[in-house]
């Protein structure tokens, strides 16, 4: 199996063909999949006009331009998948196409990062693991949220760092923070990496200053309600419990700070960038309550980890995303959309439901699922965050 896979990766034509096929699938699904509730929220946000809108809005020119044609957008939001109206399909495609392009751009950036850290084959494997991940397809193209913009900026930052372009790396990092805040969680790990690799101090200063600039810019676009944006509600919907803490000692802040301290103590000999960055996100997931699409943040790092650092961890990756997918399925009522269809394109509401849809709706209402299975899946996913973080962090000691 691995022989076949490596053969496929090493063969340039086969690799390009594979990428083309995956791209075609993503583009077709972008055209026919129903709009998600998150996309509806974005439209509502644009139409409301008086709410702070982040720089990520640049990803949705189609929605911006369509505000004059509100009827078409409203129709698209409620359209069933596979409808024959070309206008609606083109609307769907034009909304999702920039996301797909960033998805592709991220895989290219990952290819160069993998190639720099390993070989051409490593680069291809890294790009493939990212691009062929069905969870990323769901979280990026189908859900239509802007996380992929920040993910791309983060991957570009890492690519620049490993290619010895520290200033560009810091700029991309700062831009990432400006768009979506979360890359700032990696700053301690990046500083540690720069220190361990004996980089000039000005690099670290650039990382700190540009991250802070990104943070200031982020707070600026979320003003006046940045605290609420960070906690209860935001267009990027991120609950950051360590900001929202109501008690004197906030558990999430405590654990994250403790983790960073442990990293400084124990990762003394580590020069592997990925094994420093990856646990930072995983620990954050473990101490927060991440929305399903946030798990895309870590996908490029996992791809790099499996391809460049430790193949023996590869089996954890499908388990991680399998659990995440199952958890998402149950917690989102089988990916329900405003059209009454699932993102998996079967109906979930209305009369004359097919037997499969009825079976799914019964499954979602089943008390055993709600009381026993969903806690098991959610808890196993949570355990997976910790297990992956522990396994990665143990490489610091080698």
């Amino acid at each position: 199996m691995s022989g076949r896979l490596s053969g496929l990766i090493e063969n340039q034509n086969a690799f390009i063909l594979l990428f083309a096929v995956i791209s075609a699938v993503k583009v077709v699904l972008s055209g026919i999949a129903p709009a998600s509730f998150e996309m509806k929220d974005i439209v509502t946000l644009i139409q409301s006009g008086n709410v702070s809108i982040g720089p990520w809005i640049a990803l949705y020119p189609a929605l911006y331009n369509h505000t004059s044609n509100a009827t078409l957008v409203a129709q698209w939001l409620l359209a069933a998948p596979g409808q024959t109206n070309t206008n609606l399909q083109m609307t769907s495609l034009s909304v999702r196409l920039p996301l797909f392009i960033l998805d592709l751009a991220s895989s290219i950036a990952l290819y160069y990062t993998g190639r720099t850290l390993g070989s051409v084959t490593t680069g291809k494997l890294t790009a493939l693991i990212w691009f062929a991940n069905p969870y990323a397809l769901f979280g990026i193209e189908l859900l239509g949220v802007p996380d992929v913009l920040a993910v791309f900026l983060l991957v570009a930052s890492i690519a620049m760092l490993v290619r010895k372009r520290p200033l560009l790396s810091s700029i991309f990092l700062g831009l990432g923070v400006w768009v979506k805040f979360f890359p700032i969680l990696l700053v301690p790990a990046l500083l540690l990496y720069e220190h361990r690799s004996k980089a000039p101090r000005k690099n670290s200063i650039a990382t700190v200053l540009l991250s802070l600039a990104g943070l200031a810019a982020y707070l600026q676009w979320t003003t006046p309600s940045w605290r609420v944006y960070l906690t209860a509600y935001s267009p990027v919907g991120q609950p950051f419990p360590f900001v929202a803490g109501e008690t004197a000692i906030n558990n999430s802040a405590f654990v994250l700070i403790l983790f960073y301290c442990l990293m400084i103590f124990f990762a003394k000999n580590t020069k592997n960038l990925v094994t420093l960055l990856l646990p930072s996100f995983l620990v954050y997931y473990a101490v927060s309550n991440p929305s399903p699409q946030y798990l895309i943040w870590v996908a490029p790092l996992m791809a790099l980890d499996v391809a460049t650092a430790n193949r023996s961890r590869a089996w954890l990756l499908p388990i991680f995303y399998g659990l995440a997918f199952t958890n998402w399925f149950f917690s989102s009522s089988a990916f329900l959309t405003p059209s009454g269809y699932s993102l998996l394109m079967f109906p979930l509401g209305g009369d004359n439901l097919p037997s499969f849809s009825l079976a799914v709706t019964r499954l979602l209402d089943n008390s055993i699922i709600v009381n026993m299975l969903l806690p098991l899946v959610s808890s196993a996913l949570y355990a997976c965050f910790l297990a992956y973080a522990i396994d990665t962090a143990l490489t610091w000691l080698r």
């Binding site: 473990a286 101490v287 927060s288 309550n289 808890s379 355990a383 910790l386 297990a387």
Partner: protein, 381 residues
């Protein structure tokens, strides 16, 4: 002495067990088997108590009505006789457990004297004496069957081992949590896995069929238990970041990961021990603390006899168990509750870490030995 302790006045669940046995005896004598739905999941253990209860009904004494109102802490002779008779099966299970532990230890160490010491370590443990002979903890019976399954497993009798574990799981749910861990003991021998899994599944399937044959109502009743008896949710432990993330599941999955990833060629006893101990370390104070610690007690006894460096962890765990509220036979001031609970849970957590470290060190030692061997071999070439 143990025999005399069985004559103590009944309290706690013992009276409930008498009620279960009474319902089942009525069901059999009247032929109305749908009454089995009343005790539900407790029916399995209730059937095992039937002979004791039947003997009591045949005694030439005045039989008071069964129930807490008439029997709680009663010192009347009929009630003491009932308590004694109901404790006879667990008295036998207690001796059986000692023999099983002794056999497992003798087999693993090749020393009969260590086996005898293990028997005494089990049989004279004050925690066990209190919960088995005084309280009348019926969980001793499924735990004994569970240990019989492990004993059979250590002798590679996997089909019978699976059968025993399944019968224990029918009586009490905890062996189900150990099942995935035990699968790690097979060291890639597929035929053994198949035998074990078949042995495990057949009785469970038959039990499931029996439950369905008594009517879907019984099944619905069993499924609905967590919603009626909220304390059962205590076994899931605290909710962490949201209501679906439960500490018990998290700890069990993490323990499974650590076992799979970092233990080398694990044996049956440590596998079963960490699974039960992880369950009881994560479950909340009510659900996982009282008589249910008897699930872990024989495993800890066996484990400490096989690994003497667990001695202090084991002693600490049992001392804190004896002092913990609800478990402690001597009531302590309420202000000490949080301290004694905390100590008990910390001791369980410490023991769990101890076993993990032992197993991981074993892996590290094996690895080092292999490397050293390679170096020696290379130097000889």
């Amino acid at each position: 002495m143990k025999f005399l302790l069985m004559f103590t006045p009944p309290f706690g669940d013992l009276i409930n067990w008498a009620s279960v046995a009474e319902i089942l005896l009525n069901a059999i004598s009247t032929g109305h088997y749908n009454q089995v739905t009343v005790p539900g999941v407790y029916a399995g253990l209730g059937f095992l108590l039937l002979p004791s209860f039947w003997i009591w009904t045949r005694l030439p004494i005045t039989h008071p009505p069964v129930g807490h109102h008439h029997m709680l802490f009663s010192s009347s002779m009929p009630v003491l006789l009932l308590a004694f008779l109901l404790k006879v099966p667990i008295f036998l299970a207690d001796i059986g457990m000692g023999i099983l532990i002794s056999n497992i230890v003798s087999q693993a160490t090749g020393s009969k004297s260590k086996g005898r010491t293990a028997f005494l370590a089990w049989y004279l443990n004050p925690f066990n004496i209190y919960w088995i002979n005084i309280f009348g903890g019926m969980d001793t019976i499924p735990t004994c069957i569970f240990m019989a399954g492990l004993s059979l497993g250590t002798r590679s009798k996997w089909f019978r081992s699976g059968l025993s574990l399944a019968f224990a799981a029918i009586l009490r749910v905890f062996p189900l949590f150990t099942f995935p861990f035990i699968l790690l003991a097979f060291k890639n021998r597929l035929s053994n896995v198949v035998l074990f899994v078949i042995g495990f599944i057949v009785p469970l399937a038959l039990a499931f069929g029996f439950v369905l044959s008594t009517g879907v109502v019984t099944f619905t009743w069993i499924v609905g238990i967590p919603s009626r008896q909220f304390w059962l949710m205590d076994f899931f432990g605290y909710s962490l970041t949201n209501i679906y993330v439960k500490l018990t599941y998290v700890i069990l999955v993490l323990q499974f990961f650590v076992t799979y990833r970092y233990w080398k060629g694990p044996d049956l006893i440590p596998l079963a021990t960490v699974s039960v101990l992880a369950l009881l370390t994560a479950a909340q104070a009510y659900g996982g603390s009282a008589q249910h610690f008897i699930w872990a007690s024989p495993l800890l006894t066996t484990s400490v006899m096989l690994n003497r460096n667990e001695k202090w962890s084991c002693i600490l765990t049992f001392i804190t168990a004896c002092l913990a509220p609800v478990i402690s036979p001597v009531p302590l001031p309420a202000v000490t509750d949080s301290l004694t609970w905390g100590a008990f849970y910390a001791a369980k957590g410490n023991y769990l870490i101890r076993i993990n470290l032992n197993q991981i060190r074993k892996f590290a030692t094996n690895k080092t030995k292999t490397l050293e061997l390679q170096m020696v071999t290379n130097s000889l070439r």
